[in-house]
Amino acid sequence: MYKILQAEMLTDVTALMVVEAPRVAKYCNPGQFVIVKLDEKGERIPLTICDYDREAGTVTIVFQAVGASTKKMLELHSGDAFQDFVGPLGCASELIDKPIEELKRMKILFVAGGVGAAPVYPQVKWMKEHGVDVDVIVGARTKELVILEDQMREVAGNLIITTDDGSYGRSGMVTKVIEDLYAEGRKYDICVCIGPVIMMKFTCLLTKKLGLPTIVSMNPIMVDGTGMCGACRLTVGDQIKFACVDGPEFDGHLVNFDEAMKRQQMYKTQEGRAMLKLAEGDTHHGGCGHCGE
């Protein structure tokens, strides 16, 4: 069992949890992910690592309730435990392999959308710890959905918050902020963009025009997370890649986002059914439009 030492709601549907997992904490790096499983009957849920403390032996995860298992996970408190917590999986961010002097010379832009702020955070923190100042854009639909603002402010060289509805920070989507920054005369050598697939798609369309190389982190449907099932396969350029072992980070200008979005819909009906069952218990006997009764 993997004990939860701290649990905090970041929004109505998003939670942050600090989990005791010494082996993972010892060997993980920014960009990698873990797979958590609540109990015997739970799904294996892949989550990009949000933070880690090697000495304390803890790993921080942030997740949004989208299916039956993640909804149950939301109910967990400090003192509860996950039955399974495996990792680190996937490859670490390639940026951390570059010489520090080179990174210091580079102009680096991080772009986070929604819950994507969680996987962006450890990368920005790593940069700060190695004396590299980076610009960070955090975008969300509305003020209440902006997460990890204080933590991000501590480690970012320059933090820009933007909301789609203008309720907090700048107004508009992250792509608008990037355009504005370029209009103001700023230029970057590399962009790391993590968030919903649709947001990564449009960011990449823009950065391609701007000639700005962009790395994205994909979080498709997975089962084992070790290269065994191929559920997470993506088309990158003219190649098929498994996000779990070849990624999760890829060259955003080569990823086929439309296919990735379609593949993400694969279990939407089933998830909807499981969610309804969870909400209505035994009282649910059809009529939801999902269960075919």
Binding site: E43, R44, R233, Y267
Partner: protein, 460 residues
């Protein structure tokens, strides 16, 4: 009773079992087992033993069954095999022990597999355990993977007094026995868990959720005090055909389909993991995994096809699996090869384009090479396609271990006789070395690895 005929084994009715996940074969009862055992003529030069990859003393254990001393029969099998309840169920006996049986020349061979299963199941019911080491030697060995190779290697080393820890990547031990082979062929709690518990009773520790190559490396295992390592990580990487439409929703690797169902128990509604079962399913391939996937889809309610590019004679699956699949209603499209997965505008499978094949000259494998029949293209109306084309070893370990060499198929290079790899103190066996093969061959390699490690650590 006709001595040329084997005692028939009772099975679930095909029509009934096609709708449930309970075990197909009921196995022998005591009376049937003894009856079948008496068909054995106890050859002076038993060919069956030569046909067994782990060299079980087959006439020896059968003699004990004749005498009704099943506990003694179990100890004889246990000398050579750590997983008899499993092997009795999944070994391709027709090409091994039973294939060599003298009785088989004229009439049916002895049902050695069913007798082995009977003895192992009896031992379980009567709580007979394999013999433990009398004294531990204080030496630590790490085993990577808890499938048949790893369990066997760990069991043999523990019997020799080693302190063995198995590291398993998934959340449950068993490897392919747990995620791959379905419940109806190999019951998980009654058989697999039981055999794993037997290995644990020898003093073996199993640590799940550790992905060697990611969570930690082999070199870090040595730093943690392990003196030797056995790699039994299997061949987990699925193959796809590389045809258009293969990334459509509704195309799965057999690994994914089976893992969702077996490991994650998607067939049971109380489990959270979903499965897109499909209404009309085509399984591409002709091996045991293809049969498992097809029979699983059938049980989930789908009309199911096996699409295989060669003919009936070339099907590599166990004869019993093909026979069971047909009985249950799986439709065989032989000499048929897919060329394209048709996709609808929402990204889902809408059909499978295929061509018919005919057999030409034998190829490198000795099997006749299938060639496309001109103008034979047709569409199979299906909504789900499962690719069961074989698997290759996962490079997670080989790519993170300096000094561990692989061949061009990414298989770890290891001596067949003792599992020794190109890295000192590291041994390997099973599918990780040979590519996808059978449970029993992995067990044979696990035994060889245990011998190699014992020799290495004894001479240090």
């Amino acid at each position: 009773m006709d001595v040329l005929k084997k005692v028939p084994v009772r099975e679930q009715e095909p029509k009934v079992r096609a709708t449930n996940f309970e075990e197909v074969c009921y196995g022998y009862n005591g009376e049937e087992a003894v009856c079948e055992a008496f068909r054995c003529i106890k050859c002076k030069n038993p060919q069956c033993v030569k046909g067994c990859p782990v060299g079980i003393n087959i006439p020896g254990f059968i003699e004990k069954v004749q005498e009704g001393d099943i506990a003694a029969a179990y100890q004889i099998i246990s000398e050579s095999s750590a997983l008899p309840a499993i092997c009795g169920r999944v070994c391709p006996q027709e090409t091994q022990c039973e294939g060599k049986c003298i009785r088989g020349i004229k009439g049916d061979p002895i049902s050695i597999g069913k007798l082995e299963r009977y003895v192992a199941d009896w031992a379980k019911e009567n709580h007979v355990l394999p013999k433990k080491a009398e004294k531990m030697n204080g030496k630590k060995v790490a085993v990577i993977g808890s499938g048949p190779a790893g369990l066997t290697c760990a069991g043999d080393l523990a019997k020799l007094g080693y302190e063995v820890t198995i590291f398993e990547a998934l959340h449950e031990p068993g490897g392919v026995l747990t995620y791959g082979i379905p419940e109806f062929r190999l019951p998980k709690s009654a058989v697999v868990q039981q055999e794993i518990d037997n290995v644990k009773s020898l003093g073996v520790k199993i640590e799940c959720n550790v992905v060697i190559g990611k969570s930690m490396t082999i070199d870090q295992l040595f730093e943690e005090g392990f003196e030797a390592v056995f790699i039994g990580s299997g061949a987990g990487l699925p193959k796809f055909m590389g045809i258009p439409g293969e990334n459509a929703n509704g195309v799965f690797s057999a690994n994914e389909y089976l893992t969702r169902n077996n490991l994650m128990k998607a067939f049971d509604e109380t489990y959270d993991t979903p499965i897109s079962a499909g209404k009309k399913v085509a399984v591409v391939g002709g091996g045991n995994v293809a049969m498992d996937a097809a029979r699983t889809a059938l049980r989930l309610g789908a009309e199911t096809y096996i699409v295989y590019r060669r003919g009936e004679e070339e099907i590599p699956a166990r004869a019993e699996e093909v026979h069971h699949a047909k009985e249950e209603g799986v439709i065989f499209k032989l000499l048929t090869n897919p060329t394209e997965v048709l996709v609808d505008d929402k990204g889902w499978v809408s059909g499978l384009r295929c061509v018919e094949m005919e057999l030409g000259e034998p190829d490198a494998s000795g099997r006749r090479r299938p060639v496309v029949k001109e103008g034979s293209e047709f569409t199979l109306e299906v909504d789900t396609v499962i690719m069961a084309l074989g698997t290759s070893p996962n490079p997670l370990i080989s790519s993170t271990t300096e000094g561990l060499e692989t061949n061009k198929w990414k298989c770890i290079i290891a001596e067949e006789s003792n599992g020794q790899t190109t890295k000192e103190g590291v041994y390997a066996g099973g599918d990780a070395v040979t590519g996808a093969a059978t449970v029993i061959l992995a067990m044979e390699a696990g035994k060889a690895g245990a011998r190699g490690i014992h020799e290495y650590l004894s001479n240090r």
